[in-house]
Symmetry: C2
Subunit: 473 residues, 2 copies
Amino acid sequence: MKALKSLLDRIAQRVNINLRELEFDVMPIAHHLVPLKQMTKFYAFYGITPNHSLSLEFRHSSLAGSYFLGRCRTNHSILYKTDVRGDELQKKGATFTFNGHTLTLAEDEIIDVQDSYLVKTLVHSYSHDPESRERFFVTNTLSCHYANIHGSPTDGSFLGPFATVDLTTMYDCAIGAYCYIQAGEIGHFHADPGMVWARSRGDFNFVYHHPLDRLKPYIDFVPGKAPTGVFMDFLEVRKKDFERVFDVVNLQRPKGIPSNASLDRYAVIKPKMHIAENVLVAQRAYLENSYLGKGANAQENCYIINSRLEGDNVTAHGAKIIDADLGNRVFVGFNSFLRGCPHCRLTIGSGTIVMPHTIIDIDRPLTIPANHFVWGMIADEADLAQNSMPLEDFARIDGRLYRGNLLFEGSGAAFVAAFQKRIEHILLDNGALFDGKRYKGHAQRNQNISVNTIQPYPEGRLKGMYPTILIQP
Amino acid sequence: MKALKSLLDRIAQRVNINLRELEFDVMPIAHHLVPLKQMTKFYAFYGITPNHSLSLEFRHSSLAGSYFLGRCRTNHSILYKTDVRGDELQKKGATFTFNGHTLTLAEDEIIDVQDSYLVKTLVHSYSHDPESRERFFVTNTLSCHYANIHGSPTDGSFLGPFATVDLTTMYDCAIGAYCYIQAGEIGHFHADPGMVWARSRGDFNFVYHHPLDRLKPYIDFVPGKAPTGVFMDFLEVRKKDFERVFDVVNLQRPKGIPSNASLDRYAVIKPKMHIAENVLVAQRAYLENSYLGKGANAQENCYIINSRLEGDNVTAHGAKIIDADLGNRVFVGFNSFLRGCPHCRLTIGSGTIVMPHTIIDIDRPLTIPANHFVWGMIADEADLAQNSMPLEDFARIDGRLYRGNLLFEGSGAAFVAAFQKRIEHILLDNGALFDGKRYKGHAQRNQNISVNTIQPYPEGRLKGMYPTILIQP
């Protein structure tokens, strides 16, 4: 186990050097994050398909539970139950447009993770950084439970539990628990817990701060201790259900799944689920007693329980939907927590957009009308009145809006348009719009994946470490 | 599936070129051997431990069910449910003695399999070829169900079902069903089914031919058809039991196993087994309602059912023991088939040696005394009288002995001594003699193996083929 311990130390030291200007010390966090003794028992995973170009290169990485699809590389990294998903990587010669310039990829895109701990973190490959298109690096980074690095080159950063960095290039930043940051390029920035920030330079700036006293019962993180609160408890009681799907080599595909829908082999599907056409259920999604209408998608780490989603719904990574009825094309952003109860259902009308990292937790029935925009912390009608607005009204903002803990500056129209464009892109990519011929997406392409498990050395000095593994097409 | 098909064709053509002098055509055999449709469903396995030096290199090999431990390499090979076990490979600098010369290994030994089909074949790494110590190659070889290439460089050969090539270097040979060949270097040799040949040039020559009419009910092989007979039927009805052990990622270790005994994770352990100290149970062994005394070993593909083995027993690869009582240190050679019945138990006294590829199949009780040597086909007392001899008497032979289908030439003493030396070596290697400090063997070293599964492309042109995989320490 010696090699694993010294790897842990080395990574923490490197992250600390990167964060020295912020005077942020990850050491007390680092040693609590990775269960050394468990690291020998975990498996890592990678998938192979003819549709994703393969280039895995693991060198003395310790990796557990990872899910590599598409080109990837990792080096001295501890990826502990982390999803690294390269299925949107572009190939050499692909073009992309940035600020009016059309650029061509000189090489296939790859994901490259070096000297990082990523604890139950999602790393996805939707690229955006115009400066580093071919290589998605995540270097000298320490990321806590259920964080989310979404399409993000990052270098020398800390992410607290349930933090999301979305379409962001970030250098030497410390991002607090449950922060959502989608801000283009940022550096040497320290975000306090519960910040929700979406910025497009020159267009708009959306900044919301969760009230810390109300956030604390949901997620509380003190360095040197495990995170606590409703989010962790919610996940903890459902952990057992995942053990079964990871313990069996060949799972029976549940019956009644349409041939153009895709159920990941490592999702938990409890009774009674209705799954319609073009539905995509990703790895580690958890579905129970719910209805997923045509083209709905359930992304990684999301939970959908006792709920009805009419169709073309996007339930983003880590979102939880309990006792709720969602109309058509409702978007629920990353790590949102929407909880009704059997006698107080949450109803959300068609076309409504729930901002990432929104908490709606009610003990009386609550209805959010169609085509609204919702954000922040909502426990009742009063919160809803403050933290929502018809999309049409939001699109009319031009200038500055203060509303409770929200500051919005710039063009509401640009903000709403950007959101709707992205939802369209997600539905298209996920195969929600597949018509039997056109618009094939993940739901149709990811159906047949060979999932491979790899294991570390079981004892000795290298205990918990993996051998060097190179896999090429 | 195109790539897999053309690989199959290419290998068969190469084997045919090698066997052109023997006018042996493997084409009709080749196309029947590998279930193309199944090849996408099978997994391949490799184990990692700190005790075995690792160097796996799979390049466009199609491999299923293989078990690589220790250095290995394979190339364009189809290894279909084959065990390749490199756990006796020697390291660079190790010395060995051959005909009085002491030689030193210039490199670590490796196993190298190229352009071969190996169907449910065992390939083991106990080296012997003085000309090719560092590299164990198995090139342009087609081997049928349950064949056994034991420590053998081989080049351009065909092995029929249940054939064993033991400590033999073989070039361009065709070895019939159920042949056992341990003859040093052979080339351009065609062995008819059921030949049992053990030769040490200058010392002894043991040649037995199973009577073909009596062998046929046990194993019958017609090119272009699957093998048939008692052996195949016996395996077929027990196939289901193996599915469970291969379908579950983490199996519970059965209780009551001594800490110095080793049960492979891919063995079938049915109720009620007694497993004593220093016992070694290898991969794909099948144990049911039996007693394994101290230091007994159950090697790959062996079956021990309703039997009692007192201790220090060697049950070699592929041997089957049913309704039998075996005294201390009874050796049962490769692929032997010993079948009593509930009311007609087979009893074998201590120290007795059962020659590889011996069939003892009785419908009345039969007792073989202690310290005897037994070979060939035995159904009753009369057969036993012809096909057995006290070891002491056998050791007295000096010259030529004809007895039934047996011809023995040379020194009986050398023959018996060589056998006993080998048994001693097997017990030592397997850890049967471990005293808590000294004589650690496989039973103690192989307890903690990380077993990894790998899978082929699930669809497309490469369906059934694997990506290139390189694994180094």
